[in-house]
């Protein structure tokens, strides 16, 4: 396998597969988040299920973490190789004449997403681990009450306008990353035929709707806490 993964094309395909997995994951994540706009109860129940179900916690979550880490590590490995392949730069290079800004700056939009993921881990994931596995409180209840804590915690995160701003900016860059990345992943896997137009259209729609959905959730709770 390591021999196979040393080839440029195999790496591209692995990159694309990890990306498609993340694209699928984002739909799941957004679906749960959107319920917080209209039903506190439903959001709480879904969050509790996601947070305590052993399948989710000990199978899907490790796969997800592996997927994210693999994606950005491979992204950097390829970027470094590409830097080596282009050691001398042009004095004048008109990239805008033949390609989109987003396609030429995937590593930068990716870096912003990476910074966001770190922030997101500090915001939600580390406190979750702390409550559940350090303090051993698997009840999902707000301390001293019989109510679930998830909705409460979600609202609390979006009080600070700076954090809301950071979320909004990150999701705009995620949108840009995906506006190139979605169709690029299909091309990398060797998929280019009469359905490619549809894939490109789906990519554009996805890269607008999904980040917009996450932004909506953040802004909604900022305005309604």
């Amino acid at each position: 396998m390591s021999g196979f993964l040393s080839s440029s094309i195999a790496r591209k395909v692995a990159m694309a597969l990890s990306a498609l997995f993340l694209i699928f994951f984002l739909i799941m994540h957004l679906s749960v988040n959107l319920t917080s706009l209209f039903s506190e109860t439903l959001f709480n129940h879904l969050s509790h299920f996601m947070g305590t179900n052993p399948m989710v916690q000990f199978l899907l979550q490790p796969i997800l973490i592996f997927g994210v880490v693999f994606h950005f590590v491979m992204g950097f490995v390829l970027e470094l190789k590409n830097k080596k392949a282009t050691a001398v730069k042009y004095a004048k290079d008109n990239g805008a004449a033949n390609s989109t800004w987003t396609s030429r700056n995937m590593v930068y939009s990716g870096l912003v997403i990476l910074a966001f993921i770190v922030l997101h881990f500090i915001d939600f994931w580390i406190p979750e681990l702390n409550v559940k596995y350090v303090h051993g409180d698997m009840s999902g209840l707000l301390e001293g009450t019989q109510d679930f804590r998830y909705f409460e915690e979600l609202q609390h995160k979006f009080v600070n306008p700076l954090r809301v701003l950071a979320y909004v900016v990150s999701f705009v860059l995620l949108g840009l990353h995906l506006s190139h990345g979605f169709q690029s992943a299909f091309q990398s896997m060797g998929f280019n035929n009469k359905y490619t137009k549809t894939v490109k259209a789906a990519g554009k729609i996805y890269s607008i709707i999904v980040p917009a959905g996450f932004i909506l959730v953040a802004v909604f709770h900022f305005l309604n806490h």
């Binding site: 440029s8 094309i9 690029s184 091309q187």
Partner: protein, 246 residues
């Protein structure tokens, strides 16, 4: 028209090199870009200076030698042509034109605008052929039925002239459009099937060994390719590669 040229001058592979300004006057808009370069070189020779070295051969868009990066684009601003097919009417009186060699770690500069593209030759030698018996008992090629669609696609892929514009223009110096075209032209034909597996594996291996970068699907190559080679060929190469590896 009168023009200012900023041309990359570099004595040899070890020289650091730099952009040097030149003026040319009374350039006709009907001249080809290479004729304009000839005028400049004439001037330089008359002044006893070293003429600018640049590659060219057919001057009609078929040999792929005339590698120049003009105003930030491979083969200049026009589409579907090589530098020798570029005309001075694409420029205006008073313009400043940047002229640089094709840049890629796998295309080292030999002198001025001349780069070493033998890495392409080595990729081609590693698998870009079919082994046919030519010693008297050759089969009539027309005896093998081929669908019109495949024949056309193979022909389109085979129009690649190996100029290297795809590499030069790629932000990653990836050679995947070139290799994709070369793999595709055989992959689409029955004659190419026998060696299909080894072909794609060794050509991709050679491409990686030569130090070309990794495709990120910006699509710049397809836009700048003088022969309009399509990204479909890269996807086909990727499929062939997966088929051969898995």
């Amino acid at each position: 028209m009168n023009l200012t040229l900023k041309i990359w001058r570099q004595k040899n592979a070890d020289d650091k090199g730099q952009l040097v300004d030149y003026k040319v006057t009374d350039i006709s808009e009907h001249m080809s870009f290479l004729e304009m370069m000839d005028v400049l070189n004439e001037q330089l020779i008359n002044k006893g200076e070293e003429p600018v070295a640049f590659d060219h051969d057919c001057r009609e868009g078929i040999c792929g030698m005339c590698s120049m990066y003009i105003n930030g684009e491979a083969h200049g601003p026009d589409r579907g042509i090589t530098t020798c097919q570029l005309h001075m009417r694409s420029f205006k009186d008073g313009d400043t034109i940047h002229i640089e060699p094709f840049r890629a770690t796998a295309f080292p500069v030999i002198k001025d605008l001349v780069v070493d593209r033998t890495s392409f030759d080595r990729i081609q030698q590693s698998g870009g052929y079919i082994s046919v018996n030519t010693s008297g008992n050759t089969q009539d090629a027309n005896a093998t039925p081929i669908s019109k669609i495949d024949a056309d696609k193979a022909m389109d892929a085979a129009t690649c002239i190996g100029c290297g514009a795809c590499v030069a223009t790629c932000k990653n110096s990836s050679a995947m459009l070139f290799v994709g075209a070369k793999v595709s032209q055989y992959a689409l034909l029955p004659q190419g099937q026998v060696e299909a597996t080894e072909r794609v594996l060794s050509m991709v291996q050679q491409m990686d060994d030569e130090g070309f970068g990794n495709c990120t699907n910006t699509g710049a190559c397809e836009v700048e390719c003088p022969k309009g080679i399509s990204l479909e060929n890269i996807a086909r190469m990727n499929r062939e590669f997966l088929k051969a590896s898995l």
